[in-house]
């Protein structure tokens, strides 16, 4: 069986030639939660956007390929690629306010996609959306469906977005720091909801986070990203038992109680960063030779 998502050797550059992704490879198996962990600016969001086909126009993919359930995204014509991504993936975004259209009610925003993209009947879509709202523990679906986004709390909006992401039964969900913008008290509930729905629906998730505590709780596999480069990919249990890369060790050392949820990261060891910088410079050098 082919992997749900297979990224091989993906490099992307900015308009000025600076690399933002450095030969990234990672594999997400069906039904698996794969954490993508790294500091802010490491390129986690960029990888998610590359997979979903919404990279900013200033970013260009220069090598590598991405396969979604065995289909090579780079080889598909744009229209077919859009259809495939639309049918098989979904995003749980970082900021639940800007991810909902402020001038449309929640109901049509949620059902529209099922009706227009997947061709469901309005009735079927409505039933499905209500079922999902129930799964994310929204007890007054009638009110929520009639609301405008600004009439709901941040936690409620994120529940709506989680329900919307799972509603179309995607094979892969990209969750980009889905709890970062929320109150600490709500973060734990939202994380639990995502984990519960993931188990229930068997959806693979590429889970972007900067928090090792979250990684430990939710994922089976983890890729550690630094400056657009995957420095370590491992089973989550193995990573915490025996981190191989000095950067990973340093991250964990900087988070003494990493198994405690939501502990924040402290600055990473200077010598490790110096080592990383050298490693990346060498890799860039080697990469530039064939790529001019």
């Amino acid at each position: 069986m082919s992997a749900c998502l297979d990224i091989a050797n993906l490099s992307a550059v900015l308009a000025n030639g600076q690399r933002v992704l450095r030969s990234v490879s990672l594999t997400v198996q069906p039904g698996e939660v794969h954490a993508l962990v790294g500091e802010s600016g490491a390129g986690k969001t960029m990888i998610g956007k590359a997979v979903l086909g919404v990279l900013p126009s200033s970013v260009r993919i220069v090598e590598g390929d991405m396969r979604l359930e065995g289909e090579d995204l780079g080889k598909l014509p744009p229209k077919a690629r859009r259809t495939l991504i639309g049918a098989r993936t979904a995003l749980i975004p970082q900021d639940p306010l800007t991810a909902l259209n402020p001038s449309r009610r929640i109901g049509p925003q949620m059902t529209d996609r099922l009706v227009r993209i997947l061709g469901w009947s309005g009735d079927k879509a409505d039933k499905r959306v209500r079922q999902l709202l129930d799964e994310v523990q929204i007890r007054d679906p009638d009110r929520v469906l009639k609301s405008y986004p600004h009439e709901l709390s941040g936690g409620m909006r994120q529940r709506v977005l989680i329900a919307a992401a799972f509603a179309a039964e995607p094979r892969l969900i990209v969750a980009d720091e889905p709890t970062t913008a929320l109150d600490v008290t709500v973060q734990k509930q939202i994380l639990r909801l995502i984990a519960a729905l993931q188990r229930e629906h068997g959806t693979a998730i590429l889970f972007v986070t900067h928090d090792l505590g979250v990684v430990a709780k939710i994922s089976q596999k983890v890729s550690v990203l630094y400056a657009g480069k995957v420095v370590e990919e491992a089973e989550t249990a193995d990573l915490f038992a025996a981190p191989r890369h000095p950067y990973t060790r340093s991250l964990m050392a900087a988070t003494p109680r990493y198994t405690a949820p939501f502990a924040s990261l402290k600055p990473v060891d200077e010598t490790v960063l110096a080592g990383l910088a050298a490693e990346i410079a060498a890799a860039d050098q080697a990469w530039r030779r064939p790529h001019g």
Partner: protein
């Protein structure tokens, strides 16, 4: 939340004042033959320069007095409203449709579409609008439709610039990206996701533009470039009033007040409507 909303709704006198004046003026214009006390074109040299009703020498039935040809000022203002409103609605809607469409396309699609449209707007706006209007009417010929056309041709840029900027901001929002991921086409996203968010601005601009169209029409009438000179227009009455300001100030003052009230009401009404159309502000 609901309470605050009710209070805000009650506290919106500008909507009611502005809307009330516009409604009054519009109804008077529509039913001008029924409500105007006199024939606006009837001259009577026995009645020339009658003062308004509260001054000595006023005649009953000539509430705001008469002009130097003895025509009833109130009736002329009411009939002049017809042309003012026709021009306001037709020109503003035409400018709005053209400008908003191009602005939406430029702002949402960006790239070369934006570069072309923005360049045209820049060139357009380099012309001083009033001179541009006079020039256009001189070329198109006088008459109602050329006045409307001239105003639309000049003022679509006003819509284009604002709507472009707003659409550009909207298209960077995450929900647009989400719609891309879901697989919507570009035009579908522009119409379903972006357009509803710029509608409040379109409404406000549309109302403002109606006021501007009234002024431009008045200016064109004032310089005798608008409709045939027989039909009363606000600008035409002001032009005549200017000549007899020392003998009959009311012939100048009342049309000016009418014009200013109408233009202010359009802009205030638009602002108030904008908040009504905005789900966040509402």
């Amino acid at each position: 939340m609901d309470e605050a909303r009710i209070i805000r709704r009650r506290l919106s006198p500008r909507l009611w004042l502005a809307g009330g004046w516009l409604l009054l003026a519009l109804l008077a214009a529509i039913f001008a033959p029924l409500v105007a006390p006199q024939d606006p074109l009837a001259q009577d040299l026995m009645l020339e320069r009658l003062p308004p009703f509260w001054l000595d020498g006023a005649e009953p039935g000539y509430w705001l007095g008469t002009d130097s040809l003895g025509r009833d000022l109130l009736s002329r203002l009411i009939f002049g409203g017809r042309i003012a409103f026709i021009v306001a609605f037709a020109a503003a809607i035409a400018a709005c449709v053209v400008g908003s469409t191009l602005g939406l396309i430029a702002g949402y699609f960006g790239g070369w579409a934006d570069r072309i449209i923005s360049r045209i707007v820049d060139i357009w706006m380099a012309f001083p609008p009033v001179l541009f209007a006079i020039l256009l009417v001189a070329v198109l010929g006088t008459g109602l439709s050329s006045v409307i056309l001239a105003i639309a041709i000049i003022d679509w840029t006003r819509f284009c610039r604002v709507i472009r900027a707003e659409a550009m901001g909207q298209s960077r929002m995450d929900y647009v990206e989400n719609a891309r991921i879901a697989g919507y086409g570009r035009i579908g996203i522009m119409l379903r996701e972006v357009l509803p968010n710029v509608v409040p601005s379109i409404v406000a601009l549309l109302s403002l533009e109606m006021g501007i169209a009234v002024i431009v029409e008045a200016i064109l009438s004032f310089v005798n470039l608008s409709i045939s000179t027989d039909d009363p227009t606000w600008g035409g009455i002001i032009a005549e009033g200017r000549l007899s300001i020392h003998q009959a100030w009311w012939v100048l003052v009342f049309p000016l007040i009418t014009l200013i009230l109408t233009v202010l009401s359009f802009s205030q009404f638009g602002e108030a409507l904008k908040t009504r159309f905005d789900p966040v502000l509402r």
